[in-house]
């Protein structure tokens, strides 16, 4: 198992490296922060001077080399706009993003798993069909629109929850539901198909024949086995959740990393974008790793040491 973890961590480093190279190239090819940094009335000489000062006049590969050299020491540089350490800016906002992402995941699972199980047990019933319709609608619904609708209903009309911001638990409710609703449809359908698959297996029939109670049967025997694909997918979904967080954070004025990155992208604040992207990529790789480890716990047949291909 430890060999597996080390292997995956080494791979994570390469993933982050690749991602940083892609972001770096894309950002530098499409835009130039210098004109956003100087007053509009600045002369061409001022513009050139600032370019030199920021090292943006050097060839791309040389700039990337400098970035890499500093990044391995945990230094992503200073924000071009606030002259603060990019890493500090990102870490300051990390708790908010993690709080939102985990709350969203919790809400998503709380909606998806019970509904998925019920749909599987009552396959073909009205409940099942309603859940399917709900899942398709949920998947088709833009997260942005859902967020605004929730705000209009619960904050403007009913006035029971705050419309935006972070602070109390009440502030977390609407963003978590929005993000959860984004995660739920796919997870629900996976649960449903996983359960359907497991419920037709021989060992379930055997267990039932032995007189195991229906509740124990469902939750101990069936759901645990159905959980394997769900957990694997959750690791992958974590990346999608962070993507959803970008929109959710913006709609709800949630002060997280995702909205910081969006702002930085719009202003070509390279150090902040680079730092945020690399850190988020690392988190996603980590989430996948944790999901894989969790699967071994759920499914003793999977032996990680043989599975690092």
């Amino acid at each position: 198992m430890w060999t597996f973890v080390v292997h995956r961590l080494v791979r994570a480093v390469f993933v982050c490296l690749g991602i940083s190279l892609i972001t770096f190239t894309l950002l530098h090819v499409v835009g130039d922060p210098v004109l956003l940094l100087v007053p509009q009335s600045a002369s061409d000489a001022d513009v050139r001077l600032l370019k030199e000062k920021l090292g943006l006049d050097r060839p791309l590969w040389a700039q990337y080399a400098v970035f890499l050299r500093d990044a391995v020491r945990g230094d992503f540089g200073e924000s071009l706009f606030t002259q603060e350490s990019a890493l500090v800016l990102i870490l300051e906002r990390m708790p908010a993003t993690l709080e939102l992402t985990f709350a969203g995941m919790a809400v998503g699972l709380l909606i998806a798993i019970p509904l998925g199980v019920v749909s599987a047990i009552r396959r073909g019933s009205l409940t099942d069909r309603l859940c399917t319709v709900g899942a398709v609608t949920g998947q088709a619904m833009p997260i942005f629109w859902l967020g605004i609708m929730l705000i209009i209903v619960f904050a403007v009309q009913l006035r029971v929850l705050p419309a935006s911001g972070r602070g109390t638990l009440a502030h977390l409710v609407l963003p978590a539901i929005t993000l959860g609703a984004y995660l739920a449809p796919l997870t629900m359908r996976l649960t449903r198909s996983g359960m359907l698959d497991v419920l037709t297996q021989d060992y379930i029939r055997t267990a039932r024949a032995k007189g195991v109670g229906e509740r124990v049967l469902l939750f101990k025997h069936a759901l645990r086995n159905a959980a394997i694909p769900i957990v694997t997918i959750l690791g992958v979904q974590f990346g999608r959740l962070l993507g959803g967080a970008v929109v959710t954070e913006t709609v709800f004025a949630w002060p997280g990393v995702a909205s910081l990155a969006v702002k930085a992208i719009n202003t070509y604040d390279y150090p902040v974008v680079q730092g945020a992207v690399v850190l988020l990529a690392f988190l996603i790789v980590l989430a996948n790793l944790l999901a894989d480890i969790a699967v071994t716990w759920l499914d003793p047949r999977v032996r990680l040491d043989e599975d690092h291909a």
Partner: protein, 511 residues
């Protein structure tokens, strides 16, 4: 010399007549929350040029001059008078008895320190470029300073009102350092700093010993809410009290809500259609004045203002903003006359019309897509086929602008860098060699240079009037309109939007 002194005493008189109103009578109470679309990069007023930052700065710091909120002309603030001693020297007499929030007295030393701080290249202040006309700032006595300039500088009052050129406390900054000051600002302004949660909120508390009298509001919160729809929801649900940058199509919904109302006013930003009259971006039919005049006749600007902007715009007949010094309302624009436009195009050798690029960009121009489409519609009626090129990114747009790549027509806008003076728009757009100049001539260079090298307002007005008549005759631009700032405010407050786009929540009162 004599004229300068007479002028200066007139200015002094004007300044002293406009002394701000006396202190408010009641103790500050209640809490007001203002939504801003993005956060300030720093609380240090000298170290950024962000609009949101300036809005917050103005509540913590005082500038040497302020603006009268009806005429938008500079009026005394921390400086009681600004007097020209000779062509290169200005004397500022400072208000007495003012203290910083930490108890440090505001004196001539504070003023010198603030100037020197911005001018020091090591400080890397982005404001520095606006102050390079200063040779030195000298302390005369505890409440008098003299500013010596490198050349006659007519815009000094404008620069002294700059929203982020607040006066800062020398002792506090020297003791605690710049990094600390950027997070814990101390000024002389109507509010004292309480807390800054980056990307979230800035919290201020009324300065009960403010020299102009305590503000009516006890606690003032600036909250960062990037999404406009969310800002409006917060306003309607009572979560925030003032929002800015309201889209014109949301005005009816807010007016109907019964909880908030719209306050809108004209601002400095003007919108105009720039034509490449020099052919700077390559060969173009626009080097022919008849083609440029035809385009002027073809576009119905008044209709765009009514239909696309709901009347929330002020017509500019020369491209200059009607609010600023130097604008000449006597100069008349081309009448909307499609027949005349077609005739001129035929005369210029385009009886079957022609094709031109229209460059547009995202940001600053309200309803930019609709305005561009309207222009394209008018032009197609006279036979001008338009190829639209949209820049989704301001940086790209500016790079192309400076890089001589904006061929044909450009739907451009200009915000004057907050300077209410004609020099701030024309020099940079019409003087040979300037990064944004696509229409130039020796004659225009001379007028523009004359306008910035004399401090006599009459001479300056005269030269700018001549300049405006010339550029309208040559039809270098299609002058359009000055935009509005549209804000919405809770019905609990008396508050009006400002033409310099600096929200004056310190002047708001409870209903």
């Amino acid at each position: 010399m004599k004229r300068i002194v007479t002028l200066a005493s007139l200015l002094l008189l004007a300044l002293s007549l406009a002394v701000p109103a006396g202190p408010a009578d009641a103790a500050p109470r209640g809490r007001v929350t203002v939504a801003l679309g993005s956060d300030t990069p720093t609380q240090d007023p000298h170290m950024h040029t962000a609009r949101m930052g300036i809005i917050i700065n103005q509540h913590i710091f005082d500038t040497l001059l302020a603006r009268d909120t009806t005429t938008w002309k500079p009026v005394p603030h921390l400086a009681e008078s600004v007097k020209s001693v000779n062509a290169l020297t200005w004397e500022l007499r400072l208000r007495k008895g003012v203290t910083f929030h930490n108890g440090e007295p505001f004196t001539a030393e504070s003023v010198k320190f603030s100037f020197d701080r911005v001018l020091n290249p090591e400080q890397k202040s982005p404001l520095r470029g606006n102050f390079t006309w200063i040779k030195s700032v000298d302390v005369v006595d505890e409440h008098t300073v003299r500013i010596v300039t490198t050349k006659p500088y007519p815009l000094i009052q404008e620069i002294l009102t700059f929203g982020n050129f607040g006066m800062v406390p020398p002792r506090y900054i020297k003791e605690k350092g710049d990094a600390n000051f950027a997070k814990h600002p101390v000024g002389t302004g109507p509010f004292t700093f309480v807390e800054w949660r980056k990307g979230e909120r800035t919290v201020l508390e009324a300065n009960e010993r403010y020299w102009k009298g305590a503000p009516a509001i006890k606690t003032l919160v600036f909250r960062v809410i990037p999404e406009t729809a969310t800002q409006i929801a917060e306003l309607l649900s009572g979560g925030v009290d003032i929002i800015r940058a309201v889209p014109p199509d949301q005005i009816p919904a807010i007016e109907r809500s019964g909880t908030a109302r719209i306050t809108a006013t004209k601002i400095l930003r003007v919108v105009y259609l720039q034509l490449d009259g020099d052919g700077r971006a390559g060969k173009t039919p626009l080097t022919d004045v008849r083609v440029r005049r035809a385009i002027n006749h073809a576009v119905n600007v008044d209709e765009i203002m009514q239909k696309v902007l709901g009347g929330k715009a002020v017509r500019s007949t020369t491209g200059d903003n009607p609010m600023v010094f130097g604008y000449d309302p006597a100069v008349k624009p081309y009448a909307y006359d499609p027949a005349q436009a077609r005739k001129l195009l035929a005369e210029a050798g385009y009886p079957n019309g022609l094709e031109l690029t229209l460059n547009t960009y995202a940001g600053s121009i309200v309803n930019v897509d609709q305005v561009a489409q309207a222009i394209m519609g008018y032009l197609s009626q006279v036979g001008v086929r338009v190829k639209l090129r949209h820049f989704a990114d301001v940086g790209q747009y500016l790079a192309n602008f400076r890089g001589s790549k904006l061929d044909g027509m450009t739907l451009a806008s200009w915000g004057y860098n907050s300077v209410f003076d004609t020099d701030a728009i024309y020099y940079i757009h019409f003087h040979t060699g300037e990064p944004y100049a696509y229409n130039t001539s020796r004659e225009m260079d001379q007028w523009l240079e004359a306008g910035r090298s004399t401090v006599d307002p009459r001479q300056r007005q005269d030269v700018y009037s001549r300049f405006q008549r010339f550029i309208v005759d040559q039809a270098y631009w299609v002058p359009m309109y000055a935009q509005f700032t549209i804000e919405a405010v809770s019905n609990k407050l008396n508050y009006e939007a400002s033409s310099d786009e600096i929200m004056r929540v310190h002047a708001a009162t409870w209903k």
